[in-house]
């Protein structure tokens, strides 16, 4: 059994499918009048957020609360971090408080790995820099499975700022583990140099979105991460949008059954147009709801068993 969820690579096929199956059961309880389950009563889950987040933080909090765990949410703003406290000292504080699990979001890649070495509880990577965001990949896979019935054999295009995207990295790993075919699409400047040599089997790279769309079952649009763009990766947002933005015309190129995903928050009008984002094909809102179920499943797996 796994103790931490630091990377989508931690999950083999059976574990990942097990999480999706449990998430399905968890989702079934969300329709009840009483949504709470007593499963993690008496456990403490800490949300340690060094980066801004709405969706993921609330999602982890809701998931832990639905399982009756006690939740402590910590954001770097307004804490001793602004007085210069190191991650290690914060970790030791959490350890002393008896945190059973810590969901951490941090701007530095690898911070969750370091944290896992300092505390005795489970560590969940809720996004570390441009590295990984495994629960997002799980909820994306869950969304694909619930909309299209399966993940294996799907052709998924991940479009846009792959270079800065932890969502893309985690999805690439998880989706290929689950037997999907992944095509990374974006301008050459936003695809990591030499990435084609490091790709897992079943993955490929393309620079031409229009050519890829007609054969896709899923198109996942990535946010243009302006906060991480210190160089100029493309001449203008307008030009980016022309080449790689998903608008109504491009959506029409997709097969009938194909779905449009976005991890949020969306830059409407840049990578995705409003008509597409609000269309019936868009799963953006579903992804948020599924996030709670998937995180419940992960917390249950990591915390349910070990005392």
């Amino acid at each position: 059994m796994i103790k931490h969820l630091l990377s989508a690579d931690d999950l083999d096929r059976d574990t990942a499918i097990g999480i999706l199956d449990i998430a399905e059961r968890m989702a079934a309880t969300a329709g009840r009048e009483i949504k709470k389950l007593p499963t993690l009563r008496g456990r403490t889950v800490v949300n340690l957020f060094y980066e801004d987040s709405t969706r993921t933080r609330i999602s982890f909090e809701a998931a832990a609360k639905r399982l009756s765990a006690d939740v402590i949410t910590f954001s770097a703003k307004g804490s001793s971090v602004s007085k210069g406290e190191s991650l290690k000292d914060t970790a030791l504080t959490l350890q002393a408080m008896g945190a059973d699990a810590v969901a951490i979001r941090h701007p530095a890649a690898g911070a969750p790995h370091r944290l896992a070495g300092w505390i005795s509880g489970s560590v969940l990577n809720a996004g570390d820099g441009t590295h990984e965001h495994p629960t997002q990949a799980l909820l994306d896979a869950y969304t694909m499975r619930s909309r299209l019935g399966h993940v294996e054999g799907l052709r998924v295009a991940i479009v846009g700022d792959v270079l800065h995207s932890r969502v893309a990295r985690s999805n690439l790993s998880l989706l290929t583990t689950l037997g999907a075919e992944v095509i990374l699409v974006g301008p050459p400047t936003l695809l990591p140099v030499g990435f084609e040599k490091a790709l897992p089997p079943g993955a490929s790279i393309s620079y031409d979105l229009d050519a890829v769309l007609p054969k896709c079952d899923v198109v996942m649009m990535l946010r243009v991460q302006r906060e991480r763009m210190i160089d100029s990766y493309f001449p203008s947002e307008r030009e980016y949008s022309r080449r790689y933005g998903l608008d109504r015309r491009r959506m029409a190129l997709l097969p009938e059954h194909a779905i449009v995903m976005h991890p949020g928050p969306m830059n409407r009008g840049i990578e995705i147009s409003s008509q597409v984002a609000d269309s019936a094909r868009s799963t953006v809102v579903e992804q948020v709801a599924n996030g709670v179920s998937v995180r419940m499943a992960v917390l249950y797996l990591l915390l349910g068993g070990n005392a």
Binding site: T29, P38, T39, G305, N306
Partner: protein, 232 residues
Amino acid sequence: MAGHARHPARKPVHGTDRDAPSETSPLQHVKSNTVSGIRGRTILTAADLGRIVDRMAHQILEKTDGATNTVLLGIPTRGVPLAARLAARIEAFEGRRVPCGTLDVTLYRDDLRLRGTRAVGPTAVPEDGIDARRVILVDDVLFSGRTVRAALDALSDIGRPSQVQLAVLVDRGHRELPIRADYVGKNMPTSRAESVRVLLREVDGVDAVLLATANSDGHSGVDGPRSERRSE
């Protein structure tokens, strides 16, 4: 109990079995054998099991005013096909369709920390719900009572039944909680070191109830009725 195994010719005496007429259930496989890959002494054969389910269906009809306003909820894994069988028998006897569902109790168990996480089964409640209805929980083996305790908690999160009853195929004793069954297929005195394995056609491909000494297949058998199912 162990003594009978050595005398296959002698009919076993079910001292505490208040329901099953021992005269009509000659145990032909009292010797230790292997059924469906599981070693153990056969306590009930397929024919015994069929008669017991018939009787339980009759008892349910008797005690529930002809199974009116009644819902059967099976506890996975083997409570589910048992509930379906009871419902089928009730329909055969009285022509009344009893709604049948599944109640998974994994997330309500009190031993998750001791035993580790396990897969969560489906919960499917009949369309009309369970509010103000009589719910009969169905499970294969009643042992410590902890599964039933969890089931009662799970039930209260789904609705408010007017009454909850419990039907089990085998009651093997060793209760740790104040819980008793309303319908018992067979009372089976056991030692804690033994493990009761219920095999059902729908799950295991064969109908039988076996009694195994825990050591023979690695189960401790000390900590609750689920020990014999951990492999799932």
